[in-house]
């Protein structure tokens, strides 16, 4: 029985997990969940994730939800010796930095980004006009966060250090979508953030995931 990932290839949280699975070379089956038909709120799915959200990973007897818990699990379970550890567990200094910047993405970057992405991409699909006040408010918050990133990336090549880690990987889905909005200048106006992003786009795992990321009904 292989690894199954329940989700959708355009959903940012599913993408976060897929990027990690590709980075670690883990074979998996993507089981589509029809969000527009509300499949995630049906009893069969709620039995896997009572919060009714994608993604959910099934690996043998383990069922696990919350994308950043799944990526942490994959990074540990499927880490092969002599390959790059996304968690940098062998070095206290590096692993501290990974943990800190994973939380930064979770508690500073995502809350600024997710309403922007929702208003710009998802609201129209639900027949609603984007709320510009919400977008503007969150663009201001995002600017504050990206200023911190610009300063940080002046000292290190990636967020946690001079090594790619889970902290960088977690940013992929929202950064990808941000670059497709009218506000990509938030990135391109910051040379180090821009270079960091462009470097990540060249990764094979990211190229694979990007193929499925289109907002279409």
């Amino acid at each position: 029985m292989g690894v199954k990932l329940y989700g959708h290839p355009m959903s940012s949280c599913t993408v976060r997990v897929m990027a990690c699975l590709y980075e670690k070379g883990v074979e998996f089956e993507l089981v589509p969940v029809n969000m527009f038909a509300g499949e995630q709120k049906m009893p069969d799915f709620l039995a896997k994730n009572p919060f009714g959200k994608i993604p959910v990973l099934e690996d043998g007897d383990l069922t696990i939800f919350e994308s950043r818990a799944i990526t942490e699990y994959i990074s540990k379970k499927y880490h092969a010796p002599a390959t790059d550890d996304l968690l940098r567990s062998d070095s206290p200094e590096e692993s501290i930095a990974v943990r800190v910047w994973v939380e930064v993405e979770s508690h500073h970057f995502q809350p600024a980004m997710s309403p922007i992405i929702f208003q710009h991409f998802v609201a129209p699909l639900q027949g609603k006009a984007p709320d510009q006040a919400i977008i503007d408010d969150h663009l201001a918050k995002l600017a504050g966060v990206l200023d911190v990133y610009e300063a940080r990336l002046g000292k290190t090549k990636y967020l946690a250090g001079d090594f790619f880690s889970l902290a960088d990987l977690h940013h992929f889905p929202y950064m990808f979508y941000l670059m497709k909005t009218p506000w990509a200048a938030a990135v391109t106006d910051r040379p180090r953030v821009k270079a960091w992003w462009e470097g990540m786009c060249g990764r094979e795992a990211f190229k694979k995931v990007a193929e499925g990321m289109k907002f279409e009904k």
Binding site: A69, I70, Y73, S106
Partner: protein
Amino acid sequence: MVVKVYGPDYASPKRALVCLLEKGVEFETVGVDLLKGEHKAPEYLKLQPFGSLPVVQDGDYTLFESRAIIRYYAEKYKDQGTELLGKTIEERGLVEQWLEVEAHNFHPPIYDLVLKIVFGPFIGLTPDPKQLKESEDKLCQVLDIYEERLSKSKYLAGDFFSLADLSHLPFTQYLVGKIGKEYLIRDRKHVSGWWDDISSRPSWKKVLELWPGLY
């Protein structure tokens, strides 16, 4: 050199305090007065560029984000004190899952209630009753899921206490105290039993005794 935890009077730093106590790690605390804006002072921003609490200094290392801090110390001191991460990679996966649930589902509505009801008077904020009701309703939806989960499992990640339960202590303490919404816990039999269990741990009682803050 002893571990230093900044901001013990507030809720998020208490995650670090209770974790260090559970692991039997010595530490000191450094006061930071939020109401005086000390978290936005240049010296503090050098430690924590987002101006949030807590910060932990441990020798040459500076750590911030409370859930990064508790994960780090739970791993570093895995062989001493209370086991907080489960015993296997799979159990760790479930600990991470419920810690993420706390962070993304439980925390936002309870933080909103704490900010507006407990800190509102100090920062000249008059809470909008409609928004408070929305936050309370969101919190109820989460607690209903917890009630179901805790009817099958003694603690959130399984039949073992973990970081996932610990992470709920600081803000839930406000809920049963100053916010005046203890009924949200007591109306749910299994959540109520779980709360009594985790909040009566000696580590949490010590935190409340030494750093009562605004509780």
